[in-house]
């Protein structure tokens, strides 16, 4: 158990700057998710902490120790990957005990202690009945448990997980998420989990680190990312379905602030109006949570014409993706109405901007009032 501190971490692969200066403090025993699209640097960052990549600049501290110059085995981290990377020629017991029998660790653990540790980790992960089974005889979920067990068997100070449940089917993924989090709570090991799935990050992370192009966009709790996204990128990434990002031009209508979105003119409402007060004739980006977008009817206020791009059932709700006139950005909403939609249909949507987020269209940074 330890805190992890990164300062000024940089990593370049040839011409590609994978990490462009990462500062991050991870508290002891925290479950942290590194979230971002492919290529954002999240896996590189994890590998740098593990020691599988050397950093070009910067420091990595685990507890009180600077580890950036240490070999992976000397960092006492446990690693589990998406593709398990189990040894196929060994049985479950052989895989679990492997880190304890590694040549560099010889003599550190006696046979009795190895067996005892393997048993206790297998019991924790409920795979004690499988200890003598060959890896090929295991299901996907069982393999993932063995991979986790192998990562945990040395009592690492930090547990590093790279997309550990991504490829499992829906049911198993749900079960494994719950198990992972409960397990981490019980053992208390500081955990860094890499994922591209924002719902997974929200479900598991005490803290989420959103990354983009080798930099950190925001560090926050799941609630903070949803209620106070620091950038339009973060806003467009979070929510179920993610928030919709609109470009709006600020203007005046009869002395009142109005937002022009495509051909429609919308009133910003009190809170957003205060936020935009003083800005004139410029573009802002507005992020609207899906539950504040509804189907509209002719004659309603605040409606925008839209064209259906996709429609699908999510549980009992219909999720609709629409395109606004002249905007390439998809707008997502959900409805309980049972509609027979076809792709290409014209519909009207109604926006409630009361809790919308606003961003500077040039920097993408959040606009906020002093009271916000």
């Amino acid at each position: 158990m330890a805190e992890v501190q990164l300062s000024g971490v940089r990593k370049r692969f040839g011409l590609v700057e994978a990490l462009r200066g990462i500062d991050l403090a991870i508290p002891d025993s925290a479950y942290v998710c590194l979230l971002g699209p492919s290529g954002c640097g999240k896996t590189t960052l994890l590998r740098c902490v593990a020691g599988l990549e050397t950093v070009d600049a910067g420091q990595i501290r685990i507890g009180s120790q600077n580890v950036e110059a240490l070999e992976p085995f000397a960092r006492n981290v446990g690693l589990a990957f998406q593709n398990y990377a189990l040894y196929p020629h060994l049985d479950v017991r052989g895989n679990l005990s492997f880190p304890l029998r590694a040549p560099r660790r010889r003599a550190e653990f006696g046979d009795g202690e190895i067996e005892q540790r393997v048993k206790s980790i297998a019991t924790l992960l409920q795979i004690d009945a499988l200890l003598d089974k060959p890896i090929v005889a295991l299901s996907g979920g069982q393999k993932q448990r063995v991979a986790l067990g192998r990562a945990l068997v040395r009592n690492p100070t930090v547990l590093l997980l790279d997309e550990p449940v991504t490829h499992l089917d829906a049911r198993l993924r749900h079960e494994m998420r719950v198990e992972l989090k409960l397990l981490q709570r019980r053992v208390g090991t500081t955990t860094i989990h890499v994922t591209h799935d924002q719902l997974e990050a929200q479900a598991l992370g005490d803290l989420i680190v959103v990354m983009r192009d080798g930099l950190i966009e925001q560090v926050g709790t799941p609630d903070e990312l949803c209620t106070r996204p620091a950038t339009s990128f973060v806003a467009s990434f979070v929510g179920d379905p993610p928030m919709s990002l609109l470009t709006a031009r600020l203007g005046q209508e009869a002395g009142v602030l109005s937002l022009r979105v495509g051909a429609a003119r919308l009133r910003p409402g009190e809170r957003l109006g205060r936020l935009l007060d003083g800005l004139r004739d410029q573009d802002v980006e507005i992020a609207v949570p899906a539950h504040h977008i509804a189907l509209g009817h002719a004659g309603d206020e605040q409606i925008i014409a839209a064209r259906v791009q996709a429609h699908e059932w999510v549980g009992r709700e219909l999720q609709i993706v629409v395109a606004l006139n002249g905007s390439p950005v998809p707008v997502r909403l959900r409805t309980q109405q049972r509609l027979a939609l076809r792709i290409g249909d014209e519909i009207a949507i109604r926006l409630n901007l009361e809790s919308a987020h606003a961003f500077d269209s040039k920097t993408g940074r959040r606009l906020q009032s002093s009271a916000d």
């Binding site: 699209p37 492919s38 089917d169 829906a170 049911r171 749900h174 998420r177 719950v178 989090k181 409960l182 591209h196 799935d197 719902l199 929200q202 479900a203 598991l204 799941p222 609630d223 949803c226 979070v238 929510g239 179920d240 949570p289 899906a290 539950h291 791009q309 996709a310 699908e312 059932w313 999510v314 549980g315 009992r316 993706v321 049972r338 076809r342 792709i343 290409g344």
Partner: protein
């Protein structure tokens, strides 16, 4: 375009494995039907026998009321799309798409016109001169779809066509497949193990397990009116919660001594069976959480997983683990003791053979 009918189709492998068991299914003209199930359920075998890639043991297959199962594959007018797009690496995207037309010795001008039209529909005109090695995964799959489409087949058979693509590409391409199918109206059978994909793309979904058709219906039918525990468990995320119940009367039940309010159709279904080993099924959306109340099903919150405007709450109850979905502003803290209540009209009851008691009635 065609209406496809499977009549009593069975397929048994020489080793005795029953890949398809007495399949009776109509695929309507112009419909997009999904075959959904875990690996080994028979969904791929079903379209492979339809395409003529595999023989079957019993039954018949009709297209527009004509038997086609004696025809060679090329005479059945199906176009298949697989997970691995199997493009010719030495040919350009244009030539890959043109291949089925060249094989039919169509005039060059017609080939050009048809390939160009397909490229436009699939928005890949700019890729036509490239070889597969210079195409991304999504682009390759689009070429694969184009090649299947250019023949203007009577039916499209797609076997996990997006299986290996990145998540965002899958979402994009499945919307494109749906759009294409709506536009062209070609009867399409789409095989997948991914319920989200099936819900996104299909008019109707067929759930299969162990070679048998379990249920056919819209996603909502499967979600709200599953005919058995397999369908109830396979469809819906997070999965349905199952709790063992005791029968307290001819038409009432209890979970760990807590009486469960039931709708009248469920009570009627209960009266009609002597079965005592019943399982209650509840969708995570259909729980409400409140303060613990005596004589209610109470439990301890083990984990709260935020998901934006809602949260998934894991609860440990005396009857077993439960999962509830609650709005974010009403989510409890981990460790809290809470009371669970549920909407009586949304409950599902399964008998000892895992069949739903309220077949076709329960739910929304």
């Amino acid at each position: 375009m065609a209406r496809i009918e499977f009549k009593g189709v069975s397929k048994t492998y020489p080793d005795g494995t029953r890949a398809i068991v007495d399949l009776n299914l109509v695929v309507e003209d112009g419909e997009l039907l999904c075959l959904l199930g875990p690996s080994g359920c028979g969904k791929s075998s079903t379209i492979r026998v339809l395409a003529g890639l595999e023989t079957f043991s019993d039954g018949m297959i009709l297209a527009d009321n004509n038997r086609i199962d004696h025809l060679p594959p090329q005479a059945r007018d199906c176009a298949m799309i697989f997970e691995n797009y199997a493009l010719y690496p030495h040919l350009t995207a244009f030539e890959n798409i043109a291949m089925p037309l060249r094989a039919r010795r169509l005039p060059a001008s017609e080939i050009k016109a048809r390939v160009t039209k397909i490229a436009r529909i699939l928005r890949m005109e700019h890729l036509m001169g490239r070889r597969p090695s210079r195409l991304s995964g999504g682009e390759k799959q689009r070429v694969g779809i184009g090649r299947a489409l250019v023949r203007e087949p009577a039916m499209f058979l797609m076997d996990e066509p997006l299986g290996h693509l990145e998540a965002y590409l899958r979402v994009e391409l499945r919307a494109e497949i749906r759009k294409l199918q709506e536009r062209l109206g070609i009867t399409t059978i789409y095989v997948t193990h991914d319920q989200e994909e099936a819900a996104a793309i299909a008019d109707r979904i067929v759930v299969m397990s162990a070679g048998r058709l379990q249920q056919v219906g819209s996603f909502l039918d499967l979600f709200d009116r599953p005919v058995n525990r397999f369908v109830a468990e396979f469809v819906g995320e997070p999965p349905m919660v199952f709790l063992p119940v005791e029968r307290t009367n001819a038409d009432s039940i209890a979970v760990k001594g807590v009486r469960i309010p039931l709708s009248e159709p469920l009570r009627a279904a209960l009266r009609a069976t002597q079965d005592r080993e019943l399982i209650l099924g509840i969708r995570p959306n259909d729980f409400s959480l409140g303060p613990p109340v005596r004589d209610h099903l109470n439990g301890t919150v083990t984990l709260v997983q935020p998901q934006g405007d809602h949260a998934i709450v894991a609860v440990s109850t005396p009857a077993g683990p439960a999962t509830a979905i609650v709005p974010s502003d009403r989510r409890p803290a981990p460790g809290a003791t809470i009371g669970l209540t549920f909407a009586g009209e949304r409950l599902h009851l399964f008998d000892s053979a895992a069949r739903a008691l309220n077949k076709g009635e329960g739910g929304g």
